[in-house]
């Protein structure tokens, strides 16, 4: 087992694109770490550079205490699961799982015993003689995991491990993956573009954009206090409300609501609040934002209410089932204390949380 340390890492493609751009990252031993970002943000390239499949232009990668920057992928003691699983179609499940051991010259009986044991523990017993084409998507994914486990590396790399599964199976596989990682205790880095997956699985998340890390933190930190409007937009299954506002005399006013921002200079800002942290009241409240209900969308246990405020701004708010307001009713939205965030209008960086009366 080993931690990972990435220092000043840059990966440049032949066409000059800096997919990873001077990136520093430390991952603790045994941590389940997510690289999250939109497509093209460099997260997969970073993973591939750690694996050694891409050559780093600058910087270094350490696994444990070893500098592996110049090592071949096979010498880095990492195991990887590819997005398409990359199971060899001409080999059976057992042969696939035993392949890393075959390369190392382990005898056939010994490696097949290991493979049988590994597949058994990943609920694949009875499928050993099948070929990948005869397996379901979920089974293929577990075979790919079993192969990575059998390889016994110090670091497990997963490239979008759940994206090829259908929605229901994905939830099941997600739980399975988290359990497996806990049992193995192996340092794991996984790449995903699905923020829900990252929030659910990871101990820590790095949100990436344009080859750099925009925010690094626990799922809770990232969900509660996105460090920039980019991260705020990206995280959360219902998008965060982001509205333009102006600071004047240490307070920011918006659609009838007035919130204190002590010590902040006057000027334009962006206010952000998650729909989950807005409470709707039928009667006027102190410091509430007032508007009319435009749309009510049922999300199952809750509903997403779109409130239209003065100045043509819409706010989303989630309300528990049974308490949905009528369409066209006037409502008063109150943000929870500490959950109304103020971002700089130009850079999009988080400045502070506004004081809610």
């Amino acid at each position: 087992m080993a931690g990972v340390e990435v220092r000043g890492l840059s990966t440049v493609y032949p066409n000059g694109v800096r997919a990873v751009d001077g990136l520093d990252l430390e991952i603790a031993d045994g941590e389940f770490f997510a690289l999250l970002g939109p497509s093209g943000c460099g997260k997969t390239t970073l993973l591939r550079t750690i694996a050694g499949l891409e050559q780093a232009a600058e910087g270094s990668v350490h696994i444990g205490q070893r500098n592996v920057s110049r090592l071949e992928p096979g010498k880095r003691r990492v195991a990887m699961v590819f997005q398409d699983y990359a199971l060899f179609p001409h080999m059976t499940v057992v042969e696939n799982v035993a392949y890393p051991l075959r390369v190392r010259g382990v005898s056939r009986t010994e490696r097949e015993a290991t493979a049988e044991r590994t597949t058994g523990s990943l609920s694949l017993a009875g499928l050993s003689a099948r070929r990948p084409a005869q397996l379901s998507g979920g089974q293929q994914q577990r075979v790919a995991l079993a192969r990575a486990v059998a390889a016994g590396g110090e670091l497990l790399l997963l490239d979008e491990p759940l994206s090829n599964l259908d929605a229901r199976l994905r939830l099941e596989a997600r739980t399975f993956l988290k359990k497996l990682q806990r049992e193995l205790g192996v340092t794991t880095i996984f790449v995903t573009h699905d923020q829900a997956e990252a929030l659910a699985l990871a101990d820590r998340i790095a949100v990436m954009d344009a080859g750099r890390i925009r925010q690094l933190g626990t799922p809770r930190e990232i969900f509660h206090r996105p460090a920039s409007t980019f991260v705020a937009n990206f995280i959360g299954s219902t998008p965060m409300n982001l509205v333009d506002a102006t600071v004047a005399d240490g307070a920011v006013e918006f659609a009838g609501g007035r919130f204190g921002v002590p010590g902040m200079p006057d000027g334009p800002v962006v206010l952000g609040v998650r729909p989950e942290y807005l409470t709707l009241h039928a009667t006027p409240q102190d410091g509430a934002v007032t508007g009319t209900v435009a749309i009510v969308e049922n999300l199952g246990v809750s509903s997403l209410v779109t409130v239209e405020c003065d100045g043509g701004v819409s706010l989303g708010a989630t309300v528990p089932e049974g308490t949905e307001p009528d369409v066209a009713a006037t409502v008063h939205a109150v943000p929870e204390p500490g959950r109304l965030l103020v971002y700089a209008a130009d850079t999009g960086d988080l400045l502070d949380a506004a004081v809610v009366p």
């Binding site: 071949e72 992928p73 997005q83 990359a86 179609p89």
Partner: protein, 273 residues
Amino acid sequence: MTPAWILRRIGFYVLITVVMAFFAIPMLWLATAPFDSDPRLGLHWPDWSLAGVRATFGHPYALGSLANSLVLCTVTAALTCVMAALAAYALSRVRIPGRDALLYLLLLLSSVVTGTAAMVPIFILMTQLRLIDSQFGTALVLTGGLLPAAIFILKDFMDAVPRSYEESARVFGASPGQVLRHVVLPVARPGLATIVVWAFVNAWGNFLVPYLLLRRIEGQPAAVVMKTLQDEGGSANLTVIPVFSLLYSIPVVVLYLLVSRRYGFRFHGGIKS
């Protein structure tokens, strides 16, 4: 069911029958003439006899030429397959400027290499290399002619092998040779089987190259010896030709059946991606 419709159907079936007869009659000849006591060029009900078979097996060069053909074609098919596989893999994976232009140019020139136009220079080249009357030398020339098209076909198969397979094997520590042997070649196996059959059949039917490069009749393959099966007057030796033709056609059919059953174009399913 108007009369016009019926007439059209009748016309259609007559046409089909004529076309089928066109292809079937030579096959019927090949099936009956070898076992006829008096084989002629026309098709007739045979007078069953094994005289033709005995004559053919007693012929000084008939069986030897078939063995020569087998050696020549096996060497050619093996050389073509190995060299084309390596070249196609490299061309598929390495970025070379003008790679596609190179491939098309090779393909264009390949018809020249074993074509009639290049025979004189090839003959001179082989004479200087002292490879006249050598099975191996002849196989080399045949391979040279087949390679561009083989590389072209195999490159498509190599392109279809997902890179993640190779990368996966590399992460687990496989050397480039192991990646090729364990992953790429087995996955591209239908393509390799295609090339083996295609190269073998091409070499089996090639007349000009062995005719020019193999001067001794003991070394000549079946396609060349077939031409010598005539009497002094120049008319075909019809006691030997039918049986010889039948024997000549068997290996190609057997090879095709074997390869298509053993390495057949089996479907390797994947997953959506």
